[in-house]
Amino acid sequence: MDPVDRRARLTAHSAGCPECREAPLPLDHLASLLEDTRPDIDAATLSRHAFARLQPELQRRAVLIGWRRVAVGVLLALLPLPFVLAYNAYFLRLVYGYLSVLLPATIAAYLVLSYAASLLLLFAATYAAIPVLLVGRRSRAAALP
């Protein structure tokens, strides 16, 4: 702050303070005494040391929060899974019923089980992608200026 501004602050206080108006203070003298030069400290060095001390804490926090986000993401994604599985089981039984009328039972079972296996693979790939996507999004966000 400019020294003139500082002095102005004292003057402003004095103007708005009834006690100061009654017994005026030696504002100029006070201002010149308080108008010290900058303290003898290297603020940039202090910051470097502080950063070095806090870096492990930040890294620990980043890992913790990263895992927490992954856990929350996976849990949220798991919520609808029972309904999806129940619907697919119902759908597969329905398809198997129709197919077993048209085809031999073993072929119908083979087709339905193959479809079920594909669905399971798809689900597994989807859930495996959740943490990968979350980590990727976090890395991209961290790379932004």
Binding site: S14, C20, L34, E35, T37, P39, L46, S47, A142
Partner: protein
Amino acid sequence: MASDEDLVGRLADGDEQALRELLRRYERPLSHFIYRHTSGRDVEDLYQETWLRVVQHAARFDRSRRFSTWLFHIAVNRCRDWHRRRPPEPIELPQGSGSDDLPAAETRLDAQRLLAMLPEPQREVVLLRYYQDLTEDEVAQILDCPKGTVKSRLHNALARLAATVRGQEH
């Protein structure tokens, strides 16, 4: 440019760049505040403790508040704790302080000594209002007291300083 409050949000996620930027923005006002509060003692420790608190509590930072107010609130508390832990050293008043013709180092010493002889609540108000360019409302928020208290403490501090100055002149 990201606001301080946005940076605190990123800091809560462990973002190192956010901390670097906040340190860069506040290193001078904060270190100078601590220096003046403790007369230059244990500045580095208190500076680091203040930022450690910021990092630890960043997730709980209220985004409706100004970061600077929160930061100085933490710094004030750290400095108060420091004063409680460690009794202040005896203050020697400067002899014949006609400051106009004194060299800068001696003038600085006078300012430090004058500040150090103020009671802690008054010194905090002078430091925040006079040196940190904060409004009375912000000072009241930082010190967690009414605005009227800030005004009266400032008046008492100035009156005390004036009395000291007059005492030395005679």
